[in-house]
Amino acid sequence: MTLNPLLPFLMAGDPSLEALPGLLAGARALGLEAAEVGLPHSDPIADGPVLQAAAHRAIGRGATPRRVLESLAGLTDSPDLILFTYLNPLLQLGLDPLLRLLEPTPVRSLLVVDLPFGEEPDFEAGLRAAGYPLVPLLAPTTTPERAKALLDQRPDPGPGAPFAQRFAYVVARLGVTGTGQGTDLGPVAARVRDLQGITARPLAVGFGLSDPASLRAVRTLGATPVIGSALVADLTLGRPIKACLESRIA
């Protein structure tokens, strides 16, 4: 298994309503296998200022969940997508309409920030049955026993499945998304090593990563770094996606 070098996060609807397909094509052109696409939400309780602002801008532009998913329909020039979202917009769509919207898109899995396993069992089972597993999250507060349980509850579909459906998301630090100031990677490195001891599935590490050195450090651990707020901020400044990502893959 070769290491997926970077998992970029893009906010649908930002920096413009039409930007997403082009950005995804850019990521794919760099050989990235997967990307997270954030569905803008009014109350992003797990996000820091950069992604909050991006979400609110996107909503202001009319980036509703339906429109975002429709804009992904039929895309071929895209990495596998992980839909990063809060639960309520999905609930309001309802399972079947959601599945119908997902079907023509490159979305392969969902990361629902505020849906612990078991809170909406039918909804989650329905998604899984239709081929959309939910990504398990592992936080600094997650105890080893709890981590084992979480990985069991949202199991690895196995090496035949794409990265987007297999990986577990390791939350690098306490708090919300956003560029960390001098995040000490020591603790997350230890956690990654411990997790690698209990699971063979790929791991992604996110929250607060931005500089190439941090990203490299994560890769050194054999995990995929996630780049979110820093990327969104760069794109807002008008930098081309290629430039934004290239330096961070190296």
Binding site: S42, I59, N88, T141, G175
Partner: protein, 394 residues
């Protein structure tokens, strides 16, 4: 993973509540439930809480007969449960103090809280000062402006008030920001949520610390009159004073009523009446009735009262209403203001704008033939003086 909780996490036939929290907060929430259960079984904690409620908060608060207002409205009898006389001026202190004691018992040295009307923030700041805990309160900038006296009070109590600029600058945004802050400091800090909402175990915890209101009121009305009233009424923001008052009357077969903010109109964005404008959804960690647009984005709300303009009703109270054991009504801004003035003039009691919504239901109850009412006066109106002055042209 919600099976790791011991207490029921869901309310009513439609399973409201739950624990829709980011993974970072799951272990803190599990720990909180465990600490709460242990404290509730610890007679030492119970004695400490009871002593503080009595000697610091001033419990029991009185039950005041309001004969002149009753006569004016055509009621035979009206009793007011006087949470306005609790220390810091509202029922919020019951919960804030209890959670602060719990946090100290858990070894936390730092408290995070959100506030809308400022009453919960003031109560939390006071409880933290009393117990020597560091306190940060998140408050929307709109609320900071309209409840300025409470901002000053929090600061006097040594709390840091963090302005929240996002959105409408009201309670919902303050909760967002408090949850974010807690996720960042959850190993040192306890989050004192101010109403019966949020992820499990908060709704249960807050309700448990507020039922002292109804327990006292029930005993008092029996002592004073030998009988129970025909109806018990409270206002409903998140639902904490409502549950606190209404739950202890559950087995009594009387009418239990919750009054939401009707604001200034019936369109989405003009009120905060979740029970007749809301749809089931998930916000801030729980499934409940929610004012939202078609896309699942939380809707804006409007109310003259900063404490009632939260877009979601706490899950337990929502469940009681949906299951038909509590009636929900709405009162408009104008009705609440008029009711406040009437209470002032007939009984010499200045109600909080929130509580005035409960008062505003009384004419309708009288018209429906209800003879005796026990009403939860959740707080005093000092914080609302500038609104009363401008809206009532004093």
């Amino acid at each position: 993973m919600n099976d790791a909780f011991v207490l029921p996490t869901r309310f009513g036939a439609r399973g409201l509540g739950g624990c829709y929290a980011p993974e970072t907060l799951m272990q803190p929430l599990l720990d909180l439930e465990a600490a709460f259960r242990a404290a509730m079984e610890d007679s030492g904690f119970q004695a400490e809480l009871k002593a503080e409620l009595r000697h610091f908060v001033g419990r029991p608060t009185p039950l005041t007969p309001a004969p002149r207002l009753a006569a004016k409205l055509g009621l035979k009898a009206l009793y007011l449960k006087r949470e306005d006389l609790a220390h810091t001026g509202a029922h919020k202190i019951n919960n804030a103090l209890a959670q602060a004691l719990l946090a100290r018992r858990m070894g936390r040295t730092e408290i995070i809280a959100e506030t809308g009307a400022g009453q919960h923030g003031v109560a939390t700041a006071a409880a933290c000062a009393r117990l020597g805990l560091r306190c940060t309160v998140y408050m929307g900038v709109t609320d900071m402006a309209r409840q300025a006296p409470n901002v000053a009070r929090m600061r006097l109590f040594g709390a840091t008030v963090q302005p929240v600029e996002a959105g409408q600058g009201t309670l919902k945004e303050a909760v967002n920001e408090a949850l974010r802050a807690w996720a960042g400091r959850c190993t040192e800090a306890h989050y004192i949520l101010g109403s019966a909402l949020g992820p499990h175990p908060f709704p249960t915890l807050v309700r448990s610390f507020q039922t002292v209101i109804g327990e006292e009121a029930r005993a008092q009305v029996l002592e004073q009159t030998g009988a129970l009233p025909e109806a018990v009424v409270a206002c409903a923001g998140g639902g904490s004073n409502g549950l606190g008052l209404l739950v202890p009357f559950a087995g009594d077969g009387l009418r239990r009523m919750a009054v939401e903010a009707g604001g200034h109109g019936r369109a989405l964005g003009e009120h905060a009446a979740r029970l007749d404008g809301g749809r089931m959804g998930v916000l801030h960690g729980c499934r409940t009735l929610l004012l939202q647009d078609a896309h699942g984005h939380t809707a804006e709300t409007a109310s003259v009262s900063a404490g009632l303009d939260y877009p979601a009703l706490g899950p337990e109270l929502a469940a009681l209403v949906l299951d038909g054991t509590v009636d929900a009504r709405r009162a408009s801004d104008e009705e609440a203001l008029a009711a406040a003035r009437l209470l002032c003039e007939t009984e010499g009691i200045l109600p909080a704008l929130e509580s005035s919504h409960a008062l505003a239901l009384l004419p309708a109850l009288a018209a429906e033939g209800v003879a005796s009412v026990l009403l939860g006066l959740s707080g005093r109106g000092d914080k609302d003086l500038s609104t009363y002055q401008s809206r009532l042209e004093l």
